[in-house]
Symmetry: C2
Subunit: 368 residues, 2 copies
């Protein structure tokens, strides 16, 4: 298939009026043919988004442990331009997590987008920073449980609290298994998070949220994220989980290659305001913001992926050819996902067509 | 006078084995004469330090309103390599401030170091962030009081809380009078401090301390300091007022030209541990750390200027030719002090000789 009249934007690349030849699900050539199979009318063509942290969408949740739910989430994420998705779990009982991971394993091959693995958020977190994770099911780090889940289907990210007893060992073992450890729902101080980084911790989950803040006498996990070039940051760019000025600060001061946009979307995304649940907890959606009814804690987001990029572009004013690294390439590099994250010959034809106001017009997975 | 065998370090300059010719109190030439009036034995020769925030030293306080105290502080600061000092006041009653400023005015011409003006810290601060300022004497911004003091002797810095009623107007008027406004002892949020910056606010006083911290949904004054290139930061580099990691973060992420080391030293510096007072409040010094007896708040520092530079060098590992901008040149530029802050022909021969372990061996003011 030959796409013509595309405004191709990829890390370090900005080509108006380009054509993209797709063969065998891969990008074969970028040129400037004037006629082909599909004229994109000058619209932006970006690498498909890689959402490494999303629980659900439009009424469905990964934790439903249902292939129908997974399929519905995947089709909804496609409408956000997401072409690679890590189904993200919540803190749930052990047998339930097994069931969820098994459901993903059975379904993944038939998924309409790439599902290279799972993001296990919890259950090995700090109950005192549970946020919208169900504290009832929080438990100490357990290598056997991790191994059991990983044997069913690859875990790609493990979000845990590095200060819990045994967490450092679990971080080391997870790293050895090819799982990327990420600090989440944590009260760790700066020294603890850096010790964990020595053991293999690489990411900070939904940076800023549910972690130790920056104080000028103890810079905490937030300070570590702002200071240390060995840590990559997940950002929920909805302007709510992080103030616009915080996004501005991060983009101004943190290495671009360490920034990864996520949605952290929950089942109430793509839904009208109203009541919902999350991991067994009651949630109210008001003005598109999901909060626990109990204590008002933010309960995931209703962000659609493309709108995160739009907000970041508005705030930073930077060229999209710089910013698109944060929507796919950085994630691909960090997780070792081959052949995705760029529009270049040899890369998979995972692409999103965006209108000038960042609405998704079309999403291609392997050229389809 | 010809200094020989000096290791000359100035912003952007690192010359081992240099000679410095001083004529008429100014630097006349930097060369490599091998014999002269004084052989420095290869020791480091830096621009004299400019301490824009120091209340007192060795038992004496600017607020004593005594020329003997001022003289004693000045001679003690010379032992720290300080060649330009802004006597810094505390929140005191109006008539007392008049008396203090008058005392400085009467003494300044005979001072053994340069005293180009006063740093007025308070009284127009936020009582809820008084820290070690006496809350009893906090009062609303008052332009007449500011004018009266400024007519007696130039105020160079006004540390105030920009959220107080009338503060923005005072900031504008102070700027017009050539006074640099600085946010201090403040509960301002990010938006307020940036509005103040539009009115002329330029500095953040003892950055991190007694100001709104960074939160990921409201980045506060600390966030403004980390983000905004139009704000200069006073840093107390004692490792106590700011954690070493916070210093590392600031040096890694903030424009170098916006960093200014200060001591914020009080009368208990250069003194043994024990009891002291500050602005009428009882203070206890323990292990060199001064705290209010009442609530344990840090009550200024006992830092000696040269040790701040040493700590910053240890933490950042950066060349001194980069770091010395933060001990003199940035201050000189920000306050418009002519002819100081560099070792270059035409600049004043305000110099400090440092041993390899950053102890002050000699201080020159105008070559003396």
């Amino acid at each position: 298939m030959l796409l013509t009249n595309a405004h191709v934007i990829s890390p370090g690349l900005d080509l108006p009026n380009a054509s993209v030849l797709i063969e065998g699900g891969k990008i074969a050539e970028i040129a400037n043919h004037s006629s082909g199979d599909l004229d994109l009318g000058g619209k932006m063509l970006l690498p498909g988004f890689i959402d490494i942290h999303s629980h659900g969408a439009d009424g469905a949740d990964t934790c439903d442990a249902s292939s129908e739910s997974l399929e519905h989430i995947a089709r909804t994420k496609l409408k956000e331009g997401v072409t690679t998705w890590l189904p993200t779990t919540l803190t749930q009982p052990q047998e339930r997590l097994v069931e969820i991971v098994q459901t993903v394993a059975d379904w993944a091959d038939s998924a309409p987008l790439a599902v290279p693995g799972i993001h296990l958020e919890g259950p090995f977190i700090n109950r005192e920073q549970a946020g919208a994770q169900n504290p009832e099911f929080v438990r100490p780090p357990d290598l056997n449980e991790l191994r059991e889940l990983h044997q069913i289907f690859p875990l790609l990210i493990l979000s845990l609290a590095p200060e819990m007893p045994g967490a450092l060992n679990l971080i080391r073992e997870a790293s050895a298994m090819g799982i990327t450890p990420s600090a989440a729902h944590t009260k760790a101080d700066y020294a603890t998070v850096m010790a964990a980084s020595g053991y293999g911790l690489k990411h900070l989950t939904h940076f800023g949220n549910a972690m130790t803040g920056l104080h000028h006498r103890e810079i905490g996990v937030v300070g570590a994220g702002l200071l240390e070039d060995c840590l990559r940051l997940e950002l929920i760019a909805d302007g709510i989980h992080l103030a616009p000025e915080m996004l501005e600060l991060i983009f101004a001061r943190v290495l671009r290659e360490n920034i990864m946009l996520i949605t952290d979307s929950v089942s109430s995304s793509w839904q009208p305001d109203g009541d919902s649940t999350l991991g067994g907890l009651d949630v109210e959606i008001k003005d598109g913001v999901a909060r626990l009814k109990d204590n008002g804690a933010l309960a995931g987001s209703t962000l659609r992926y493309q709108h995160g990029l739009r907000l970041v572009q508005e705030i930073t004013g930077e060229p999209l050819s710089e910013l698109v690294a944060t929507t796919s390439w950085n994630q691909a590099r960090s997780l070792g996902l081959p052949d995705v994250g760029r529009i270049e010959p040899g890369y998979r034809a995972d692409l999103v067509v965006l209108s000038a106001d960042f609405e998704v017009e079309r999403t291609f997975v392997r050229g389809e």
